[in-house]
């Protein structure tokens, strides 16, 4: 999982209209028009935000007959979680090393 894809998830979540779209999609797959009824930014803006959410891996679209439906993507938040786990493991290993050094110093006194 690249840093870029993780950054995309966090960036995607940082915008209110996009969070609103996720909220609407939490109720089930929807076509653009139905989503736009709940998100007061206009249909073309909704399409643009859906593209950002798709690129971040949070949303996917499927065709059902002639209808294009958008839905939440399974495991969409996984990249963000993985990034946090790796980051904190790195931070805490540096921290543990510093504590061990401090204990060594104190016992050498």
């Amino acid at each position: 999982m690249s840093n870029q894809s993780q950054a995309r998830v966090f960036d995607a979540l940082g915008e209110p209209a996009r969070r609103r779209i996720l909220e609407v999609l939490a109720g089930g797959p929807q076509p653009v028009g139905a989503i736009a009824e709940h998100v007061p930014v206009g249909r073309s803006a909704v399409s643009r935000q859906l593209r950002v959410l798709s690129e971040a891996g949070l949303v996917q679209h499927t065709s059902r007959g002639t209808r294009n439906l958008y839905a939440l993507a399974p495991d969409g938040f996984a990249p963000a979680q993985q990034w946090l786990v790796a980051t904190w493991d790195h931070v805490l290993s540096e921290y543990a090393r510093a504590v061990a050094l401090r204990i060594e110093e104190e016992s050498a006194k």
Binding site: R19, A26, G27, L72, A73, E94, A96, R102, I103
Partner: protein, 147 residues
């Protein structure tokens, strides 16, 4: 699906909780991996009063978070928003528990999925984000997810 649970990491360190707490806070500038994880990269970080502040070599300053609970040597909690406005803060709690081998340090990063901005938190949006996430978990873990 546990994707949206708080991130929880543990590490065992030698010595007492008092030392572990002191190294974590007063000595943070000595161990935090600034080149990899910071806003300015060429900088220092320190707990300054109740804030965690990064200072760049060129005199810039940015706040990573604010201490909300300070209970040495047992635990501390702080808000967390490096590189972001404090309205986009998540929360971190670190606990220090004495054990036979030293001190068990547990870090819990909560609310990281919530980038809710109070300025846009209209009534309709109150608790909305929690509902989104609950719905997301439910839907994404369903057998026909995304179908």
């Amino acid at each position: 699906m546990s994707d949206l649970a708080p991130v929880r990491r543990e590490v065992m360190v030698p010595g007492s909780p008092a030392i572990a707490f002191d190294v974590f806070t007063r000595q943070i500038g000595g161990w935090w991996p600034i080149p990899a994880i910071s806003v300015f990269h060429n900088s220092t970080v320190a707990f300054v009063d109740d804030r965690i502040v990064e200072h760049s070599a060129t005199g810039e300053e940015t706040v990573w978070g604010t201490v909300t609970e300070w209970l040495p040597p047992h635990s501390l909690s702080f808000t967390w928003h490096p590189g972001k406005d404090e309205s986009q803060a998540s929360r971190i709690t670190v606990t220090f528990a004495e054990s036979d081998q030293g001190t068990l340090v547990t870090l819990i990063h909560d609310g990281w999925e919530s980038f809710a901005d109070p300025a846009v938190a209209r009534d309709e949006y109150n608790n909305g984000w929690q509902i989104v996430l609950a719905g997301y978990v439910q839907l994404a873990s369903a057998p026909d997810a995304g179908a």
